[in-house]
Amino acid sequence: MEYEAVIGMEVHVEINTKSKVFCACSTHFSAPANTNVCPICLGMPGVLPVLNREMVNKSVAAGLALNCTISRWSKLDRKNYFYPDMAKNYQISQYDLPLCSNGHLDIEVDGQPKSIGITRAHMEEDTARNTHTLGGGQSGVDFNRSGVPLLEIVTEPDLRSAQDAYAYLTALKQILQYLDVSDCNMEEGSLRAEANISVRPKGASVFGTKTEVKNVASFSGVMKAIEYEIKRQVELIESGGAVEQETRGWDPDRGITFTQRKKESAHDYRYFPEPDLVPVVVDAAWEQRIRESLPELPLPRKHRFMEQYGLSDYDANVLTGTQAMADYFEAAVQADADAKKTANWIMGDLQALLTEAKADISACNVTPACLAEMIRMINDNTISGKIAKEVLAEMFVSGKSPKQIVEEKGLVQITDASAIEGIVRQVLADNPQQVEQFKAGKDRVVGFLVGQVMKASRGKANPEKVNEILRNELAK
C-alpha cells in the first residue's frame, strides 16, 4: 500500500529583545551562569512581572509576516507543571487567546508553490537551562535563559514530507531574520523545532496516530528524523503493529528516533488566566504602524529580483537568502552596476572571500558603491576581469576604492595598440616553435600565445585586443 505522511511543526523562537519578557535582565546568550537573573525570572513569590512592549511589537510583526490575524484582545495564561527548569512551577504562556492566529506561510518545494497554514503564534517565556554535566547524581540549573521571550509558532498538519518541513523551516527562519525579530540560531537554541508526524494510506481522510519528535539540533537533523520516523511508522503498520502516541528523541549519531515519553504521562497543564498581567489590546492603529514598518519579505523580493533584474531563479534565491545580501546587491545595482555582473561578483568572488574570512556581508570592507565602481571599470576596459579579482581581494582587506588600488598598483589595463604590439612581437620572437605549429595549421596554439602575452603584461593587457593583434601578427 502507498502511504502519505502528515506533518505539523511547532517552532519556538527566542525573540531578540534586549531585556527579558517580564523583567529588565539582559537576554545576552553567553553570560556566565546565573548572572542575568533577578527575583522575577528566578520565580520568587510576590514579584510583579511586566510585559516588554517590544515583545508585543516583534510578535505582531512576525504574525503579520505569517499572514495571521492579530487578536484585538489577547491575554497571558499560566501553564502549570513541575520541572526544575521552572522555579515558580508555571510558565507564563498564552492559551485560548493567542496574539496571532489563522495565518499561512507560502513556501516553494522543488520550485512548486505550497501554502502552509499557521494555526497560531503565541507569546511565552523561556525556561532555565539544565546542565547534566555535574557528577554525583546532580544537575545544575542556570536561570539566564529563564524569562527570555519566546514566540511559539504552530502549523496546521499541512506538510507531507521531510522536504516540505525543511522548506518551511528555511522560509520561516529567513522571514524572522528579515524582520529582525530573532537570530534563529539553532546552535544557541534561539530556534527549536518539533515535528508531529503520522502516516496514513494515501488519500485517506482520517489521521494516523502521531508521534512528536523533539530535541533536534539542526534543520538537516529535522529532515533526517522525519524521514526515519515515516519509514519506522510505515514498517510498523505494514508488519501488523500500531503506532503509539509518544514523544520521541532524535539520536543524530545512530540516525534513529527513540521513545522519550509515553502518552500515559502526558501532562494536564490546568491553564488559567495570569492574574499578574493585564490583557494586551492591539488596536487597528498599532497593528497598522507595525504593518507599515515591515520590510519586503524574502519570497516577494526574490520574484521581484527575477523580474526587475532578469536574474535566474537560482541567483535570485541566493541573493535574497539574507536581507543583508539582498540589500547589498540592490545598493550596488543602484550605484550603476550591471545587475547580472553584480550578482556574479557577489555570489562568486566576494562570497568566497567572505566565507574564507568567516565574515558577514553586512560588515564587509567592500562597499556596494566600490563594487559597482569596480564593475564599471571592467566594462569600460580600465581593468580586465582577471585584474579585477586582484583588486577585489585588495578592497576586501584594505577597504580602499578600486580606483585608488588600480592607481597605486599600476593595474590599469593596457589597451594601447602599439604597446600591445610590442609585447606580442616579443612573445612571437621568443616562441618560434609555436609560431611554426600555428603556420602548420594548429590553431590551438593561439591560446598558449595569448597566455604568454597576458603573462608578459602581468595580466594588464586587454585580452580582446591581444587576441586581435596576435592574429594580425601571425597572419603576416
Binding site: Y83, D142, E152, P275
Partner: protein, 101 residues
C-alpha cells in the same frame, strides 16, 4: 453523591504534588463540590449580553520599555538556594529530558 469524588481530589492533588490523608481528601471533595455548586448557581444567570471579563482589573496594556536594568549579583541570587556550587543551582539529577518550552 456530589460532582467531585475522592478520586478527582487524588488526581488534582497528584498534579499539585500534594500528599493528602483520607480525611483531607473527603473534606476537599466536599469543599470543591460546594464551589462547583456555586458555579452552577452563577450559570443560571443570563449572560448572553455580558462581555466576558478577562481580568479582575479594568486595565489593559501595561508595558515596560525594552531597556536592560540591573540583575542580582550571583552570590545574592544563589544565597538562599538549598544547594549551589557558586555558579549553578544544584538539583537532583534530571532524568526525563523533557523540558516544556
Amino acid at each position: 453523591m456530589g460532582k467531585i469524588s475522592t478520586k478527582d481530589v487524588e488526581y488534582v492533588a497528584g498534579l499539585a504534588q500534594l500528599a493528602l490523608d483520607d480525611a483531607a481528601k473527603e473534606r476537599l471533595a466536599r469543599e470543591m463540590d460546594e464551589i462547583l455548586s456555586y458555579m452552577d448557581k452563577l450559570n443560571e444567570l443570563d449572560t448572553a449580553n455580558v462581555e466576558p471579563m478577562m481580568h479582575a482589573m479594568e486595565m489593559t496594556n501595561v508595558f515596560r520599555e525594552d531597556v536592560v536594568g540591573e540583575s542580582l549579583p550571583r552570590e545574592i541570587a544563589l544565597r538562599d538556594a538549598p544547594q549551589h556550587d557558586g555558579e549553578y543551582f544544584i538539583v537532583p539529577k534530571i532524568l526525563d529530558t523533557e523540558g516544556s518550552a
